[in-house]
Symmetry: C2
Subunit: 340 residues, 2 copies
DNA sequence: ACCCCGTATGAAAACGTTTACGTTCCGCGC
DNA sequence: GCGCGGAACGTAAACGTTTTCATACGGGGT
């Protein structure tokens, strides 16, 4: 059996109330009593039972993170950013991921009830109705990269559109005229925005009839296949812009296999700037997303919501900047251009 | 205010006991009563308060993971493995990381009290005394890659020694005679074991006097510097074995910068088989550690401990296998050799 | 008709905290 | 000397569950 506050109280010849006060640093207890209680607590190795505490205080010092998956560099970085910021606020992080379908996500969401002070949600299933159905009342929630536009939940997005647009413009600026785009999973909100950036950049350049979208699913293999497809096109594209880095890397393999030179014959660009992007041959031009910062920003936002009184004005939807990272795969010179 | 079990009971004209029974699928409640209660609960969007529940059941359906850091592919994979297995058991994962010193780790450890059913610990600070001091009584605990040898806690290790030894033997088998080793942080248990594997393989080959250990700290930069140092040695090594992949990659940069050919002049090998290893030029020969499997195995072990009755015999210390992955950086041909 | 037993249900205790509210006591000003 | 105020401390309620125990009820065996 675990040692409880009662044991400490008995040993120190005080009431449980005094123990609670002493250990939490509240007033109403003599310095010497406090000292005595602290000593007894330390001797007994007393550690308060958090479930009991949060039952009464309605605080758990924990935030929940609902993620679709944990695969790859993106989530790794996201979690790291969240954890970093959480730690700074003395918060812990309850992680739940890999829910393939909405039912699983719903179960996970409900399991968070009474365990967390707030929620960070990044899930393709998290639409408005889903949240209403499963989210108990007023749990502060921040949506990350969600297509949901609600004024009841805060939202934080990556500037996918801006990043894709500036990349497309960069390729156009290098003189490329036939730019193909490798898309990702259709349901993915980021993909849609990236694709939109690509389309609109072309349209703005008067090349609206040169939109070539190849299918992909974010995996290296799909990028490889898309690369093959691009090679089969007549006339061939002179640039390929993939919706993420892994597909761009797969595409590079397809090109080098076909002895097509990068960037001379076909320029290649990706999106995300995963660590690997610097190390492939040739180094990959891409759009950097400061993922850890995204996580940090999301958590900071959540903390503000948790601490804010009811009446607090809802903050506007926040957009996290992306930046263009030019490397050899598109014939650039290695500069980084930041974009708001 | 949140809707509680009492609200459901009142609305359904039953007692809270019946609601509890109905919702938890216990016997002692008519099928039709159960149905009615379920309907009311759904209508009111009732979600049980987990803190209250675990206060009485002494179960939280949560395991804690105490990690030193979240940086890099290793922890990403580890967490993924843990999460995967946890999800299969209906468990959630409370993550705490980045505790720079023992004090922070202790705070994190204590904060887990009453929040988790078991603990996965991977921390350089987690020695026997530390655990005794801060770990409340009988919380089931699995130590990952720890140097602590205790029969009170379960332990799970990567076969660092075996992996390093087989890699060194492989390099020797290719005819390399002067093999340098780039070490990692001194306190790191894995590093020590890897270094031991390297030393003993050399000793077994009668090359005990050709042990060259260069300092490193697991970062790419330190690998780069170690590469420079290796180049300055007379006579030069004909192979460099880095204690992890990132240092091997940094080393590759140093060599290519100095126009030294890999593998013709100097073979290079790493350890971990991070995703990037396949993509660098030349692709990196390395020792694969199935990190996700390590995480899964650790969690499975923990689950067994949680479910096991007190009297259960302690399982022996488990070692997770590594395998040799031969790629171009040491002149191999791309095979994988498994090792128990 | 009566007893008994199993089943459905309710009342209440318990889990370990925090905190509102009393109570005691001491010192101070009149 | 007396009342009064405030500090120190204790008592007990509250948080939302689960579970033990008691109770009511209905039916079958005698």
């Amino acid at each position: 059996m675990s040692v409880t506050i009662k044991d400490v109280a008995r040993m120190a010849n005080v009431s449980v109330a005094s123990v609670s006060r002493a250990l939490n640093g509240h007033s109403g207890v003599t310095a010497e009593t406090q000292k005595r209680i602290r000593e007894v607590a330390a001797r007994l190795r007393y550690v308060p039972h958090n479930a009991a505490r949060s039952l009464i205080t309605r605080r758990t010092q924990t935030i929940g993170a609902l993620l679709p998956d944990l695969h790859g560099a993106f989530f790794s970085e996201l979690i790291r950013g969240i954890d970093l910021a959480a730690r700074a606020h003395g918060l812990y992080m309850l992680v739940s991921s890999s829910h393939g379908d909405a039912t699983e996500a719903a179960i996970a969401l409900r399991a968070m009830q009474g365990r967390v002070d707030g929620l960070l949600v990044m899930s393709p299933h998290a639409d408005e109705a889903f949240l209403d159905e499963n989210l108990p009342i007023v749990l502060p929630t921040v949506l990350i990269n969600s297509h949901v536009r609600s004024d009841r939940h805060a939202a934080l997005d990556v500037d996918d559109y801006g990043g894709a647009r500036i990349m497309t413009e960069h390729l156009l600026g290098l003189g490329r005229k036939r730019i193909a785009f490798i898309a990702g999973p259709e349901v993915n909100h980021d993909v849609q925005e990236r694709c939109r950036g690509y389309r609109e950049a072309l349209a703005a350049a008067g090349l609206g009839d040169r939109v070539f979208v190849l299918p992909g699913d974010f995996t290296e293999e799909s990028g490889y296949h898309a690369g093959k497809q691009a090679l089969a096109m007549v006339p061939r594209p002179d640039a390929i812009f993939a919706a993420n880095d892994m597909m761009a890397i797969g595409c590079l393999s397809a090109l080098s296999e076909a002895k097509v030179r990068t960037p001379e014959d076909i320029a290649v660009a990706g999106f995300d700037d995963i660590p690997m992007a610097r190390y492939v041959t040739p180094p990959l031009t891409t759009v950097r997303v400061r993922i850890a910062e995204l996580g940090e920003a999301a958590l900071e936002r959540l903390v503000r919501m948790i601490e804010a009184p009811e009446d607090a004005a809802p903050e506007p939807r926040t957009v996290v900047a992306t930046e263009l990272v030019v490397r050899a795969s598109c014939g650039g010179n290695g500069t980084v251009r930041r974009r708001a």
